[in-house]
Symmetry: D3
Subunit: 138 residues, 6 copies
Amino acid sequence: MPPVVTVTRRAHFNAAHRLHNPALSEAENARLFGPCANPNYHGHNYNLDVSVTGEIDPVTGYTIDIKTLKELIETHVVSNFDHKNLNLDVPEFRDTIPTAENIVVVCWRLLAPVIPRGRLARIVLWETERNLVEYTGG
Amino acid sequence: MPPVVTVTRRAHFNAAHRLHNPALSEAENARLFGPCANPNYHGHNYNLDVSVTGEIDPVTGYTIDIKTLKELIETHVVSNFDHKNLNLDVPEFRDTIPTAENIVVVCWRLLAPVIPRGRLARIVLWETERNLVEYTGG
Amino acid sequence: MPPVVTVTRRAHFNAAHRLHNPALSEAENARLFGPCANPNYHGHNYNLDVSVTGEIDPVTGYTIDIKTLKELIETHVVSNFDHKNLNLDVPEFRDTIPTAENIVVVCWRLLAPVIPRGRLARIVLWETERNLVEYTGG
Amino acid sequence: MPPVVTVTRRAHFNAAHRLHNPALSEAENARLFGPCANPNYHGHNYNLDVSVTGEIDPVTGYTIDIKTLKELIETHVVSNFDHKNLNLDVPEFRDTIPTAENIVVVCWRLLAPVIPRGRLARIVLWETERNLVEYTGG
Amino acid sequence: MPPVVTVTRRAHFNAAHRLHNPALSEAENARLFGPCANPNYHGHNYNLDVSVTGEIDPVTGYTIDIKTLKELIETHVVSNFDHKNLNLDVPEFRDTIPTAENIVVVCWRLLAPVIPRGRLARIVLWETERNLVEYTGG
Amino acid sequence: MPPVVTVTRRAHFNAAHRLHNPALSEAENARLFGPCANPNYHGHNYNLDVSVTGEIDPVTGYTIDIKTLKELIETHVVSNFDHKNLNLDVPEFRDTIPTAENIVVVCWRLLAPVIPRGRLARIVLWETERNLVEYTGG
C-alpha cells in the first residue's frame, strides 16, 4: 500500500466582522465580546491552512495536486470571504456568530464535500499571528 | 559624541476599513478601488513599525526606552485604531481615505510630536504580509 | 452536539537558564550539555503555544474566550518566567533541569488545573526558531 | 513513568528538481505537472521539521539531545540533498518522482533507523511558505 | 505638496540556477562557488520586495495602486523567472552569472521603465531566509 | 562602473544579560531598567543582520561572497556571544551596559575592520520579534 501523507495549502483572505449575539442584550454582548462587539466592525487578515490526507498516487507522486487544492479553496472559501464583511456579505454567518471557531467549521463544511482525492483532515484558521483555531471534523 | 542608532518597536492593531472617495461617482469608486470599495467594509491585521533615531544616552545605554516607545504607540495609535472601523470610528479618516499610505502619514502626525528623546525617523505600516508602506516624514 | 475545535494562544517570555545536573561531575555536565552548561547562564526568547480543545458554546461561538486564555497564561506562566532566571528565580526548576522538555511539562502542570472550559490539549514551547518541544499531557 | 514529549528540529536545504514520470508521454506529463515538468528544472528552499517522541530522561532532562538530532539530519539528509539536483544527484529519486510527498517519505526512511532514543514521530517538509507535506510513517 | 511615501509589494518565484563563469577553469569555478557551481543546478524560493516612492495622489490616497504594482512584477519578472532555470531559460542570464546581486539588478532593469507613477526606489531579493540583496539603482 | 548593491547575512546567538549601571543606586537602576535589571539575568535569542555595500565584481557576480560574510560574523561575533552571559563573559560589556543599542555598536566595531570587500553599511540587531536596533556607523 502506498504511504499516506497529509498535504497542506495555506490561503489568505481579508475580512471585516463583529461578534454579536442578537438573542442577548447589548449589555450582555458588551460583557461577552468587549471591543469585538463594535457595531461598526473591525477586521483581520486571516490565514487558512487546509490539509488533505491520503495515499500517494504512484503515477503522479501526489496525494492531491496542490494546484487543485489551491483552486478549491479559492472557489469555495476565498472568493466568498475575501474583502467581505462576514456578518453582512456571507450567508453562512447570517445566523452564526463569525468567531474563529465558527469560521473554521463553516470552511470545513464548504470544503469537505469537494475534495476529489483523499479526505479533508484538518483546517487551521489564524485570526492573528497569536490566535488560531483548528478543526478536524469532530 | 555618542553613536546614533535607530530603535524600532513593532505594534499591532486589527481594524475594518473601505476605500471610497465621496467626491467620485460609485462607478468611478468601483473602477479605482475594486473590492476594496465594498460598502460593508473589509479588514486587516495591521503591523506598525515605529523607528526613533538618536544618540545613545551613556547613562542608560538607551536611545529611547523601548517601553516608553511601546506605551506612546499604544496611547496615540493602537488605543484609537484597534478593533475599530477606521472610516467611521477614527476622526482622522473622516475626510481622508484610509489607504495604507494615508494611515502611515496619520500615524506620523500622531507620534512625531510626542517622541521625548531623539526624533521619529520612519514608520512602516504592513497592511498584509505582502503589502507595506513606509514614511520618513517628507 | 456542537463541533469540537482546538483554540491556540501564543505567548512570549524572555528568560535566562543553564543546563546542569548537580548529581553529576562537572566533566559529565560539560560532556552532556556543552555550552548550555555555562555557569554564567545564557538565554532565550521563548514562544509558548497553549491549546484548549472543547465544544463550541452556541451562545458565544467560543470554545474558550481567547482573552481568558491569554490572561491565564499571563498569570500562571509569563508573570513568573518573563525576565527571570529559570534556575534561580522559578521554584519549579529548583530540582528540575530547565530543558525545553521540562519547561513544557511545568507549563502543563501550571495551566491544566485552571482551564475553565474545555481541556488543555497541547502545549508547544519554541526555544529558538528551529528547536521546539510539544506536550499533550501523556 | 517520565512524561513523553515530542522534540522537533528544523533543518534547511536548497535543491533543484522537476516533476516528470518517464512512463508517461510528454503531453501527459505536461498536463499533470504543468510548469513543474520544465525539463531544465526549477528549485526550492526546503524546510524540514523532524520530530522525535519519547520519555524525558530524568538525568539529562532531554528526550533526545537536539544537537544529536541536528547532526543526524545533517548527515543523513541535508548533506545529500543541499545544493543538489534531486532528480540527477540523489539516488533515492532515480525511480521516484521528487514531489514533496515522496521527498518526505524518503526522509523518513533515511532517518527512522538512526534515531538513537525515542522514535521518529513526524516529518514535515515545507516546499514553499504555503505548501507543506507531513508524514507520520503510516 | 502631498506627502511622499514608499509602497512595497512582495512577490515570489521558484527557480533553479548554478553559479559558474565560463571564462574560468573548472577548478577556479569550484574554488569560487563551491557547491553553488553544481553542474546539475540547485534552486531557491525567491522573495522579491519591490518598492516605489512617490507623492500620495489626493484623489485615490494611493502612491501607486498596489494591484498595478503586483501585476507589473508578475508580467515583467515572475512570469519569466518562476519555475524556470535562470541559466538556461532566462535570456538576461545568458551572459550574466545569476547571483543574487545580478538577479536584483536585472529585476531593476526590467521594472524601472514600466513604473507608471512615482519611481522605482528599492528592490530586495531574498535568496534564503538569511541571505538577501538590496539595490537602489546606483 | 558596476552596480553597487547591499548584501545582508542574518546570524543568530542566544545570550543572557541584565541592564544595570554600577554608577547608579539600586533604586535608580530599578526605576530605569525595571525587570531588565534582574540581578539573576534574563536572556534572548538575538538575530543579527549584517549588511555590506559595494560594487558587484564582474568576475564572480558577488559584492562579497556571503559564505565569507557568514564566517566573519561567526568568528568575530557569534563565537564570542552565543551561549554566553554578555555582562560576565564578553569583555566588550565589562564597562558598557549590554542594551540592544550598545550591542549593535559593539558588533559594528568588531566587524567593520575585517570586511574584505565593500564596506560595512548597516547592522540590525533584533532583541525580540518586536524590538530592534539599527546602526549605520554614525
